[in-house]
Symmetry: C2
Subunit: 165 residues, 2 copies
């Protein structure tokens, strides 16, 4: 089973791809999609959307996993983040991936084992779990973390997803 994790942002969108074989996790790829802050918003969203379309075409994941946001810093930041999340979710659902959302608490619990872990602990654990040579770029690491979260929760959530249809 192949999972594409996404950490969306209009400036930088991180992605991370992992395979699961039974209880084992295997790192496939990770990286970021960067957009110019001077470009019109619609074009930045298109770059994110098309970038993810390409990644999905190349790697053929079965699931998309995206962090759910409850509290943003402020309305402006929330609006900006919403645009990028919308583009990411659309790229997934338009490619007929099963899309899942997880809270930061769920991601931290799944990766580190408790929900109040700090950013560095999560990054370190992602590196360890996936045998990475070094800690991945911040947004890519967050994307891998939400992919790992889906790998660990897939039984529970697959039931939820089927019920939601």
């Amino acid at each position: 089973m192949r999972i594409l994790g996404i950490d969306p942002g209009t400036g930088i969108t991180g992605f991370g791809i992992i395979d699961t074989e039974g209880n084992r996790l295997r790192h496939v790829d990770n990286g970021i999609i960067k957009t110019r802050s001077t470009a019109p918003l619609a074009e930045r969203l298109q770059l994110i959307y098309r970038g993810l379309q390409q990644i999905i075409a190349d790697y053929q994941p079965d699931y998309m996993s995206v962090e759910q946001v409850f509290l943003a810093r402020n309305p402006r930041a929330a609006l900006t983040l919403g645009h990028a999340r919308g583009a990411a979710l659309l790229a997934g659902v338009n490619a007929t991936l099963d899309v899942f959302e997880y809270s930061a608490l769920q991601v931290k619990s799944a990766v580190v084992g408790y929900g109040h872990a700090d950013k560095q602990q999560v990054q370190q654990m992602v590196k360890t779990l996936l045998n990475l040579p070094e800690i991945a770029q911040e947004d890519a690491s967050d994307a891998l973390a939400v992919a790992i979260c889906h790998a660990n929760s897939r039984t529970v959530n697959h039931i939820k997803s089927l019920k939601g249809r």
Copy 2:
């Protein structure tokens, strides 16, 4: 020249299509895309995206005009609105429409003549300018208003747009 105005929302997205012939405006169609609040977010965004894709295919507009948001009520509302705006902007740019954004102040100024007009005045003026038999549904009326705004500002903004590329 044909303009598609959009008032995005995850629950209700309004759309309005107008033609301009010289200084004259002609109403073509208006309506709303509604999504179920119980559906998963990714599916709601897909419904908005596909709905707009269909409208664009049917009516072949040249421009998309969307209200720009500076201040949302709160981070949660802003995030939700951002998702819907992202889906709308992507539908436009992926269909190779020229996409423009206008502030509420610009929309009100263009439709009513001054920036602090209230909602009812804008709705009434949209009805009058487009010879509608009655005031359109709220979100559809807002979509027509932002389309009218683009019609009135297109010379100025076309220059801006060309510069932005």
